[in-house]
């Protein structure tokens, strides 16, 4: 449960700053200036297994039947109608007919548990013993926009806080000088819904995801405009601090004024620490090569994976990386030619993701970092336009690694066609509840009051999938 004091901190002095002061007095916790960083770390509900999350978001919808959920039945039914198909599940209407399409890829069993992984993910396959593949994911919408909203916020409509916002709200940040919730976009642009995907919804703006750019300033407005030197800036800030302190002293009840002074100091420090954090040139060459920064195909996603490790290392709570930007073939949205699309995106992500897992493991960070891989839905076992696959929400795969999750296991199953999640189905709220649980948060207790109602990330459902936990 969040304390009253915490609630007031979150509000950033928005209502009754005097109330804050007096409550802090009552809590016996007043040490003026009481209010510093609204993202200050605070304890979870119970002992956590993970401190951070890295969500590898394969935007567009990777095909489960071509990557982690092999379906020999599709070979038999190839070119024929399958009995489970329903016309309303097809997003593309008439372009998608009930004609089964077998996978283009060969699968092999990997690791002690024999996890099936397609040939397009050869390096990732070496980490099979770390992966917990959920083959029974399902979601509500067969459309990118609503499905992205649901995977990110639990709801198919915009306006709700994203998971990163909830986590940051629940735990704060362990980093003094960096945002708590960072989004790393594909170099080709943002997914549809844009910034609404990492929105704070009805929470304060401090819980919004902060996109780090891959070139230039990592954070917007991190450096002074041209012609303003750092000594000039420091001189301004010194006078500003002096005047703001005077003003705060003359208005002792307004604790937001103290918070404002602190926010300028933090901003000044962020200018250096964020720039240092994104400077991957500081990494040894072996590490840069490990992530594929030396190859055109892998350099973009590789850099983001390396950044994710550097961010988590520095206490950032929630990092979301998008593979796939913009629309269509630039994302995993393989309507036209599945093989071409997935060849490309697997080649872009295989080495970087394998490097990330390796690196996290070597540094010990994997124990406290929960890695999540998946898209907003899967792809249909039937063909679209002969060579592609349509969106498919009723059964798809995701995997988890690290952060107290059992490695080397497969959870749940789809039917023989890969159409419906039939064994141990996992809903998006179930996944969210599980992620929160690993972070030490009870999804039923993590609530935020908005227009008179207590909201949850998981709304009225969600169950922790205990079978995945160590």
């Amino acid at each position: 449960m969040l304390t009253r004091r915490r609630m007031l901190q979150l509000s950033g002095g928005g209502f009754g700053a005097l109330a804050l002061n007096s409550l802090l007095h009552a809590d016996g916790a007043l040490a003026a200036p009481a209010l510093t960083n609204p993202l200050a770390a605070h304890p979870p509900h119970f002992a956590p297994r993970a401190k951070s999350v890295i969500f590898l978001f394969m935007y567009g919808g990777p095909s489960h039947v071509d990557l982690f959920d092999p379906k020999p039945e599709l070979e038999k039914w190839h070119g024929k109608a399958i009995p489970v198909w329903k016309p309303e599940d097809a997003f593309m209407g008439r372009k998608t007919q009930n004609v089964a399409m077998k996978s283009y890829y060969q699968f092999a069993k990997h690791g002690r548990a024999g996890i099936d992984i397609a040939e397009t993910y050869p390096l990732l396959a070496r980490h099979a013993d770390d992966l917990c593949v959920i083959r029974s994911m399902h979601t509500e919408s067969n459309n990118h926009g609503p499905a992205l909203f649901q995977m990110n916020s639990g709801f198919t409509l915009p306006g709700r806080p994203s998971m990163g916002s909830w986590v940051t709200y629940g735990l704060g940040s362990e980093s003094e000088n960096l945002p708590a919730y960072v989004v790393l976009l594909d170099h080709q642009g943002a997914p549809v819904n844009g910034a609404l995907n990492w929105s704070n919804g009805f929470m304060p703006a401090s819980f919004q995801g902060v996109p780090f750019r891959s070139s230039g300033d990592p954070i917007a407005y991190l450096t002074p405009p041209k012609g303003v030197s750092s000594s000039q800036q420091r001189a301004r800030l010194d006078l500003l601090r002096h005047w703001n302190e005077e003003y705060a002293a003359a208005n002792p009840a307004e604790s937001s004024l103290a918070a404002r002074i602190a926010s300028y100091e933090l901003a000044f420090r962020m200018q250096m620490s964020a720039a240092e954090c994104v400077d991957v040139a500081r990494e040894p060459e072996s590490i840069r090569k490990l992530y594929g920064l030396d190859r055109p195909a892998t350099q973009h996603f590789g850099r983001n994976c390396l950044l994710a490790r550097r961010l988590v290392e520095r206490g950032v709570r929630f990092v979301q990386l998008y593979s796939g930007g913009n629309e269509g073939p630039k994302a995993w949205d393989a309507h036209d030619d599945l093989k071409k699309n997935h060849d490309l995106h697997c080649a872009e992500t295989d080495q970087p993701i394998a490097a990330l897992l390796h690196d996290l493991k070597t540094t010990g960070l994997l124990d406290t970092t929960l890695v999540v891989w998946g898209g907003e839905f899967g792809r249909s076992p039937v063909a679209e336009n002969g060579k592609g696959r349509d969106h498919h929400p009723k059964g798809f795969s995701m995997w988890l690694a690290g952060g107290g999750i059992k490695g080397g296991m497969i959870h749940g199953a789809t039917d023989e066609f890969g159409y419906n999640a039939v064994e141990k189905p996992v809903s998006v709220p179930d996944l969210h509840a599980t992620i929160l649980h690993q972070l030490g948060l009870n999804h039923e207790q993590l609530t935020f009051r908005n227009t008179g109602r207590d909201y949850r990330l998981t709304d009225v459902s969600g169950e922790v999938v205990r079978g995945l936990l160590v």
């Binding site: 943002a190 304060p204 703006a205 401090s206 407005y221 002074p224 208005n251 300028y264 008179g452």
Partner: protein, 647 residues
Amino acid sequence: MVGAAGFAATPSLEMGRKHWAFLPLRAAQLPAVKDAAWARNDVDRFILAALEAKGLRPSPEADRRTLIRRVTVDLIGLPPSPEEVETFVKDTSPQAWERVVDRLLASPHYGERWGRHWLDLARYADSSGFHNDLDRPHAWRYRDYVIRSFNEDKPYARFIAEQLAGDEVPGADEDTMVATGFCRNGPSNDDNMGNNKEQYRLDELDDVISTTSMVFLGLTVGCARCHDHKYDPVTSADYYSLLAVFNGTVKRGVPKESDEKDKAKELVRLQALIETKAKAPPTYLLRRGSLQNKGPEVPPAAPLVLVSNPLRFPEPEPDAKSSGRRRTLAEWIAAPENPLTWRVLANRIWQHHFGRGLVATPSNFGFNGARATHPELLDFLAARLIADGGRWKALHKLLVMSATYRQGSSVAADVRRLHLPETPDPRPLTQSSQSLLTSAATLDADNTLLWRGNHQRLSAESLRDSILAVSGKLNPQLGGPGIKPRIRADLLTASQRNKWPALTTEGAAQWRRSVYIYVKRQLLMPMLELFDAPTTTDSCAERMQSVVPTQALVLMNDEFVEDHAGFLAQRAVTEAGGELSKAIERMHLLSLARVPTAERLKQATVFVTARESAYEKEAGAKETPRQRALTDLAHVLFNSSEFITIE
């Protein structure tokens, strides 16, 4: 966590009808007070009575500079000019304050400020939000309609009717059709519906029902889409009966991708929600909100808990162009007999003047909402609104003319005035009496009783507008299509298919008030977004006032602030002459509505002189060392807490 008030189970209809907010307005009895001389009007009697009951006294009036800055920002969202400040400070007549108030209420900038409050509620934006965030090239007409309606002081009943039923009201014309943009402002999935058109249509109507009920009635009917409301006596049947009111509507002016590509094809000039047939389609209750789970047909109706007899929707004439259902609903919402509507409105107006509503949950007057701190006052104000024909300006004037509004906000001074039994005389503030601060706080910690003025932070728009006004560059042009000021190029790349121009410099076309900035849902203007402008996906009744380092970053490093700091430095020298102290004084007058203290003047002089000598050692700068040093000072003023705070 805030404790959930009320009931474990949904209250019955009978209990619901006894809920305070749904009861008829009570004719207010002016309360008796001891210090009747303090009260300037009836509002003060209610406030003072509550203070006296706790042994508290109101704060003395704020000084004149504070007052004119407060009321000017409050009513028009801009700072007062030094001349306006000096005129008021020197005006000793008893009408001085009223003259200021009347001038501001007559200003066209009033509509820009108060219209913006309405646009928050109406989740206004210029793009669709979902997927590729399609432009809504005519949405701005709704924004202008709102601003115009506020400036005309349009009666609230008409304002409601135009927004819900602009095609059905008497005298329907293009302007009232534009008003129905209220029902069209929500996010929509026009460019990517795939196989799910009916689902998205229902989602959009859900947004209309949720927004309408929250904005006008302070009731969260949207919660009853999938099941009966958990806290309020609002059933799924009530929800689908409201859906029946809107179910016959169609959207006019839906942007298509082809419009995007073909600019010449501007066929639609409106963004309206209208009906085209007299007969509305049947509406069915959907169990658990699911299209696959149709229940019985439901008739149009107002939520049962709010009416003693079911609201009658007359059958339309066979040749009518619409069902008339929305007009019936709008007339019922705005009827003087509907206390909820008027309580909700009175509270919203109070909220913006005083920083917090008498009811702290302005869009939720249901069982789970907050109780009114001054219920009699709320009813008194609601009744006044009705008596004034639903015109807002009369209520603004009543509120800002009150002694309550004119109180100082200082706590240090309050300690001296704290009325304690063992210290009947006001004490001078000393080091030892600091402890009294805690006592004052325990009596009314968060100033709900209003024993002082509340500090308010400048809103996102007022912050940017104030910088423009103070630098002298504000272009006061009213209305028209949304403007797209400069956004750093590195921010543009993160957005999908943005049409935002990559400007390197700004001019008068961009230096307009922030209410005119194009609201692109996936690319909100960074400075506004960081200072808590609404996300626009849902109706926003109350903005956050967060304090985060990214706000500091944008004020420290945005070229906009840098440019206007330079303009302020130039302006101060132009207007005050070359003498340094005069320029510093002018900059303070412009930005803070006050002259610097001797100490402040000394600090500023030392700072400017030091910066100037640093610049004298550098070669090659375009500006003089003095101009650069004054720019530094102007930049500090724009960043200062005093600048961003309204006392």
